[in-house]
């Protein structure tokens, strides 16, 4: 491969990919307007800092809508504005849903902030006493502690001891704390217990998918190269020109519409652009519409179709037998009945593909591994071995489509499927 790669192309690729992987860069333009979630959140938190009162908020929205990113932006700005009077404690529901872990992590982060020695051997009670004492001290010193609880719904499982103790400690006059919960379950506040919910101020900020204009602005913000001296001058203008051409093309708008019909969060757009940018032609250093088309087709995967296309011909026979049994309204079938159907097909059509029982058993195992078929749950009678009832995990139309696009599917199978 003796083709030349422009070094500027690599640099621009690095730059754009770096932007895509950095959530705070991505969400900055979305937060610019005055009625965005960013400004609402910032207003609430900064008022509670300046007025020295307690508060609790929930940020809700589907995955990938930028809740954590906006919170990071707000936190960054607040730490700049009020350098000494804010400290940030982060918890994640996936990691710290156990009370022991949670208290230990809070104590560890508090110790790190205030340069105290943290002992790993401290028990749960010692940690919780330490936290309550710290809250009181910080309140007396007019320092606000912001607790960020990611995956809030995971904390709401079990006895909710952490939530209760945090929200309870906030009820006292001396403490100054803000609890911000982030969750992708829109009913996260319904999960709280009665005593926890009564201490929770029901403030919720919903993160909805952005509008089309905002998406267009976001595209431009992400893909246009800055005109600084690190890039050759003509290259930057050519690149941005090409981007403008592509984004105003109707075919590109169609591609975007198809993408947003499936998933209209910002995250899916980011993945789409990432894929397209990775396919950038490094010799010319410019993006093209084909990159975006290829990216869309790689995002629209159909795993079950791929699984059917990967099957060997014997496995296709077995799938067709199961489908025929279903058509005959035999809702429950097991390996023995499928083998019987297989034998009747062989007898009536004299196919050349008739294999012994143990070969077919192994073909069943392959199909199970690919998650095309599975065993149904036991209803009380525990069957073993070949008598366990099975079911198909793909629909008839998927099977049809897969077989038609199969490389070497025999015609008789398609005929059998239709009757």
């Amino acid at each position: 491969m003796g083709k030349e790669i422009i070094p500027a192309a690599e640099k621009s690729l690095n730059l754009i990919r770096g932007r895509l992987c950095d959530p705070s860069y991505v969400f900055r333009p979305l937060s610019a307007s005055s009625d965005s979630n960013y400004s609402k959140l910032k207003f609430i938190v900064s008022t509670s800092i300046t007025e020295g009162c307690n508060n609790s908020i929930l940020l809700l929205g589907p995955r990938g809508s930028g809740k954590a990113a906006v919170l990071d932006l707000v936190a960054g700005d607040l730490l700049e504005e009020f350098p000494d009077s804010v400290s940030l404690i982060r918890l994640n529901g996936l990691l710290h849903s156990d009370d022991n872990c949670a208290f230990k992590e809070i104590a560890r982060q508090l110790c790190m902030e205030h340069h105290l020695l943290f002992s790993k051997m401290a028990s749960l009670d010692e940690n919780s006493q330490f936290i309550v004492a710290m809250l009181r001290e910080c309140g007396l010193a007019h320092k606000t502690i912001i607790f960020v609880l990611d995956e809030f719904d995971m904390f709401a499982q079990g006895k909710q001891r952490l939530l209760y103790s945090l929200l309870d400690a906030m009820q006292s006059v001396t403490s100054q704390a803000v609890v911000i919960g982030i969750s992708s379950r829109l009913d996260a506040d319904q999960l709280l217990e009665k005593r926890v919910r009564s201490r929770f101020s029901h403030r919720k900020i919903l993160f909805l998918p952005p509008s089309r204009e905002e998406f267009d602005g976001l595209l431009e913000h992400l893909l246009s190269l800055p005109a600084d001296s690190s890039f050759p001058n003509g290259y930057v203008s050519r690149f941005n020109e090409k981007i403008k051409n592509i984004t105003s093309d109707t075919r590109f708008k169609d591609i975007l519409r198809t993408l947003f019909n499936a998933n209209s969060t910002v995250n899916s757009l980011l993945k789409f652009i990432f894929r397209a940018v990775s396919l950038m032609n490094l010799e010319s250093g410019l993006l093209s519409l084909e990159n975006f088309k290829a990216a869309l087709s790689s995002m629209q995967r159909q795993p079950k179709l791929e699984a059917v296309r990967d099957c060997s011909i014997l496995e296709l026979y077995l799938l067709v037998c199961m489908r025929r049994l279903e058509v005959k309204e035999q809702s429950a079938y097991n390996i023995i009945s499928v083998m019987k159907e297989y034998k009747t097909i062989h007898d009536s059509f004299q196919t050349s593909d008739y294999y012994a029982q143990n070969v077919c058993l192994r073909a069943f195992e392959h199909l199970r591994e690919r998650q095309v078929i599975c065993y149904t749950e036991n209803r009380g009678q525990s069957q073993t071995g070949e008598y366990r009832p099975m079911k198909l995990l793909i629909s008839a139309s998927e099977l049809h489509q897969g077989m038609r696009s199969h490389a070497c599917c025999p015609a008789i199978l398609l005929k059998l499927l239709d009757h």
Partner: protein, 534 residues
């Protein structure tokens, strides 16, 4: 190791100690792992070498290289999925060898619990090697995801610092296997096995969101899974990684793969022309085909004296006709290791060829393994007990021994035919019935006495001592319970739940009809007469 040898030279060497080679000084003790060890280790290879090593994987390799991006380019997590033996792990490792980037590899098959997984990754990142000096323990103890995140952040920070300081020196030869760049890649292999772990769904969620939790742009995550990504959807939702699919090999790719590393390509190509198409109809998995083809190829080359020649059309036809009768049975035995001796025993092969050339029916007649007479009778008795309803025992096993006095059946009406079909379907779905031990013993005694009469005739043909037979008859009953328990161990009988009224254990026979027929035929027992047909 010159250091070790000099320290040992000062010891007084007695005769016993000098006779024992003192090689147990571990070679690793003087070798501390460094950041350079995080790469593949060998010299890096070009893209063309990677592409030629993996026929049929061209687009996947190029996709992976493009997704990982140029040096020091941040990347989103990638998931590579495909069925077994499609080359996922080897492609990833070879691509990382080509790119010479530092990586940490851990497989969820060898690290079978979260603690082992976390500690293995941390050991590699903290450049800690388990040896006798630290008692083969890990660097840090870590079994919770929260500890893992904190320790991982520290360890990654250290590694990235040393990479940055190391990359400051200019290296003229970029292909010497030293790490390039400032990014570290974490590879998790066999991620689908985590589903079966304790709290597996939580660990999976944690892995998928590891990138978001750590928020380190110098980290790249690659997940390798045997199952497609839609298996991991859960009601918690997750940010899915970028998928990359490795399909099964097509026939053309399989041909190219098999032709590599063959001494005589033309001969093997002729062989593949014969066998590849029929075997690909059954399975396209590489590992299963390769084991069959290796034994078949040996058979194919039998008539040839010189394995180095390239065959012409005539010879190809001859070899094909030699191999042809073996293909059909081999297709049906594709997963069974043949118990007949293959090489060396020509008499065995001739017998084998004779059995292959005859109909398949003859194969059905012999049992593959040896069972004693009483065990065979027990097997048949269990089979009958599971298949026949208990109420018919009296008529089946009366003194005349058979179903001779069945009533003449009327012509079946359509409704009764439908009912019969439904009943058959239900019987197939329900599986074999269960029976108490007493019923099994009763049937056994009945049919053993029937079998005695026919057995006695055969005995005179053999050379064994016929007088010993009578004693056997009396002793046949004493170790029946032993036989029952050994049949249970061999999974011919299984214990099903006990009836709450009677309180005794019920058994179920898991013997297929073929096996019961084979056993009956070896005893010359008329099984068909005793089987209840609806």
């Amino acid at each position: 190791m010159p250091r070790e040898e000099s320290s040992k030279a000062t010891r007084r060497s007695t005769r016993s100690s000098s006779s024992v080679t003192v090689e147990n000084a571990e070679p690793n003790e003087s070798h501390q792992p460094t950041v350079d060890d995080l790469t593949f280790g060998d010299e890096s290879i070009t893209v063309d070498a990677v592409l030629s090593n993996f026929p049929g994987r061209r687009s996947q390799i190029l996709d992976l290289i493009r997704l990982m991006g140029p040096l020091d380019c941040p990347t989103l997590p990638v998931m590579i999925y495909g069925s077994a033996s499609t080359g996922k792990t080897s492609v990833v490792l070879q691509v990382l060898r080509h790119l010479s980037r530092p990586f940490v590899y851990s497989s969820c098959r060898t690290c079978y619990s979260p603690r082992i997984l976390f500690e293995s990754i941390l050991n590699q990142l903290l450049l800690h090697r388990k040896c006798s000096s630290n008692g083969y323990s890990s660097a840090k103890r870590c079994d919770k995801p929260s500890d893992f995140v904190n320790l991982l952040r520290e360890a990654l920070g250290n590694v990235i610092e040393s990479l940055e300081s190391g990359s400051g020196t200019s290296r003229p030869d970029k292909s010497d296997g030293k790490p390039m760049g400032k990014m570290v890649y974490l590879i998790f292999d066999n991620v689908d096995l985590i589903r079966d772990w304790d709290k597996g769904s939580m660990i999976l969620q944690f892995l998928f969101s590891l990138y978001n939790v750590l928020k380190m742009p110098q980290l790249g995550i690659i997940l390798i899974s045997g199952l497609p990504p839609d298996v991991y959807y859960s009601n918690m939702g997750y940010t899915d990684p970028l998928p990359l699919y490795f399909p099964e090999y097509s026939e053309e790719d399989l041909r190219q793969i098999f032709l590599r590393n063959q001494a005589n390509r033309k001969l093997y190509a002729a062989f593949l022309d014969v066998v590849l198409k029929p075997f690909c109809r059954v399975t396209r998995r590489l590992e299963e085909l390769s084991t069959t083809f290796s034994s078949l190829f040996r058979k194919y080359c039998e008539p040839l004296d010189d394995l180095g020649i390239s065959p012409n059309e005539d010879m190809k036809r001859r070899l094909y006709s030699h191999l042809k009768p073996l293909i059909a049975p081999c297709l049906n035995e594709i997963f069974r290791v043949s118990s007949h001796p293959h090489d060396g025993d020509t008499r065995g092969e001739r017998r084998q060829k004779a059995s292959y050339s005859s109909e398949n029916r003859e194969e059905l007649e012999t049992l593959d393994f040896h069972m004693s007479v009483s065990a065979k009778f027990l097997l048949i008795a269990a089979f009958l007990a599971s298949r026949n309803p208990a109420t018919l025992d009296a008529s089946m096993f009366d003194s005349t021994g058979g179903m001779d006095n069945r009533k003449r059946k009327r012509k079946a009406s359509e409704k009764s035919m439908e009912k019969k079909e439904m009943a058959e379907q239900e019987a197939v779905m329900k599986g074999p019935g269960s029976f108490p031990l007493e019923r099994l013993l009763a049937i056994f005694q009945c049919i053993a006495s029937v079998g005695d009469s026919s057995f006695g005739e055969e005995e005179e043909e053999e050379d064994e001592d016929p007088t010993g037979y009578d004693k056997e008859n009396n002793n046949l009953m004493s170790d029946i319970l032993l036989q029952v328990s050994s049949l249970c161990d061999a999974n011919f009988l299984i214990k099903s739940g006990s009836c709450p009224l009677e309180g005794s254990i019920r058994y179920r026979s898991m013997v297929s009809e073929d096996l019961a027929l084979k056993a009956a035929r070896s005893l010359s027992f008329p099984l068909a007469k005793y089987l209840y047909r609806r």
